[in-house]
């Protein structure tokens, strides 16, 4: 099996500048994405591995996602209650919380948590496989490491991210409901009826899901790419893990702006 990216022979650096390095990284990442997509049919043979990865990056991230969703919803309830009370519009708390969660905070915060929880472990795992020559061993055994190791994790990220974002949103609504209704004494019916009257399924909920699908793909791609191309040393794995978090956070936030501008 031929692999375009061989970490033992890094891409030739004609331009020693930082910009050239960054461009080479982006280009290599794009080529890697093409390789991943091309290997999707082959990786269907390892479907159970994909399921295992969904379990690993998705189900195992549930605890942190649920906890953070609950707290984000609760703090949103408190903060927005304070802001809305200035204008005498606390009745709109449910609307404001749900819209900000569905459209913005749910996908973005979940993606950042996902990069920290699942992205790093993907990078470290693949990076160690690289460092201990397991990937080379797979090639020796005629097992395509892209189809067996990289693509299942990439697909798992795409599948798991939107589901995690939905769980995050639901817990956030519960948290805001707890703070607003049980704690601050807002009327239960007002909270829900204002929410249901101004939140739209397609414009708000589904757009948020599309966002989180895109974020899942981006975070998983960066994590797999960084792990796959890490220098085969312990220091290299450490750097690759850091870069996964840094790059995926930046790309998620930038992509969020672009997608919001298009999906509004």
């Amino acid at each position: 099996m031929s692999t375009v990216i061989d970490p033992k022979r890094p891409t030739p650096r004609r331009d020693p500048s930082v910009i050239g390095d960054a461009l080479a990284q982006v280009g290599a990442c794009g080529l890697f994405l093409l390789q991943l997509l091309a290997s999707v049919p082959r990786s269907l043979r390892y479907f159970k591995e994909t399921i295992r990865q969904v379990w690993f990056v998705g189900a195992m991230s549930l605890a942190i996602i649920m906890t953070c969703g609950l707290f984000v919803g609760m703090v949103l309830g408190l903060q927005l209650y304070y802001v809305l009370s200035i204008f005498g519009g606390t009745a709109a708390l449910g609307t404001v919380v749900s819209l900000s969660l569905y459209r913005e905070l749910g996908p973005v915060v979940t993606a950042l948590l996902f990069a920290g929880r699942a992205g790093t472990s993907i990078t470290a795992e693949i990076g160690l496989m690289r460092a201990t020559d397991q990937l080379a061993a797979m090639e020796m055994m005629a097992v395509d490491p892209i189809a067996y190791v990289a693509t299942p994790r990439f697909l798992a990220g795409i599948v798991a991210m939107p589901l995690l974002a939905c769980v995050f949103n639901a817990l956030g609504i519960f948290g805001a409901h707890f703070v607003g209704v049980s704690w601050l004494g807002l009327d239960n019916g007002t909270f829900w009826s204002n929410m249901t009257s101004s939140v739209d399924v397609w414009k708000d909920v589904v757009n948020g899901v599309w966002k989180s699908v895109a974020f899942g793909a981006v975070v998983a791609l960066i994590a797999v790419f960084q792990g796959y191309t890490t220098p085969p040393t312990s220091e290299g794995v450490a750097y690759a893990t850091t870069r996964t978090v840094v790059f995926s956070s930046i790309v998620v936030l930038a992509l969020d702006f672009v997608m919001t501008a298009f999906l509004m």
């Binding site: 969904v54 998705g58 589901l163 939905c166 639901a170 249901t196 009257s197 101004s198 909920v205």
Partner: protein, 177 residues
């Protein structure tokens, strides 16, 4: 083998939970939650101005939601707005001299159609039209009227000032004594 099976069960539960959350968000927290109405019948009402009334805005009697706005069209012949209201079959007993009005919930809230029940023994049937309607109150009109009629030179306002003035010294003297 056993461990692989537990992975798969865990993944299945996770996916179910995720889609369950999505279904909950989509059906319980959005406008879809307002659609779940059983059999309904249609009533019509004409307004000279519907204001910001939107499709699917609630129709209420005594503040209780009984249906929603189905369509808002302009009657090309009469040049007024023809609003079709879809009302739940459970509330089929609306007297035919009931009045329909467009109100705003709160100062900045959404507009809805309020039905004030009349006293007629005959009930409105499917496709009937409200005879009495009250259009949406335009805040701009109110402000304009207030500005025109509220000047200090107007006699009505002067009278109000006269009525207010004697009260002030009295209260002053009350305080002094």
């Amino acid at each position: 083998m056993n461990q692989r099976r537990s992975y798969q069960i865990g993944t299945g539960l996770f996916i179910l939970l995720g889609f369950g959350a999505l279904a909950y968000l989509a059906t319980q927290t959005t406008s879809v939650a307002n659609f779940q109405q059983g059999p309904s019948y249609t009533l019509k009402a004409r307004f000279t101005n519907v204001g910001q009334l939107k499709l699917r805005a609630p129709v209420k009697v005594a503040g209780v939601r009984i249906g929603s706005v189905q369509a808002i069209d302009l009657d090309a012949a009469k040049l007024d707005a023809l609003v079709k209201l879809s009302v739940d079959k459970r509330y089929a007993d609306l007297p035919d001299d009931s009045a329909a009005a467009i109100f705003t919930s709160g100062l900045l809230g959404d507009q809805y159609v309020a039905i004030q029940p009349g006293g007629s023994p005959d009930m409105l049937k499917d496709g009937d039209e409200f005879v009495l309607t009250q259009s949406s109150i335009q805040l701009e009109d109110l402000i304009g009227k207030f500005l025109v009629s509220g000047g200090p030179s107007k006699p009505a306002d002067a009278g109000a000032n006269d009525a207010a003035k004697p009260a002030e010294p009295k209260s002053d003297t009350d305080v002094k004594h």
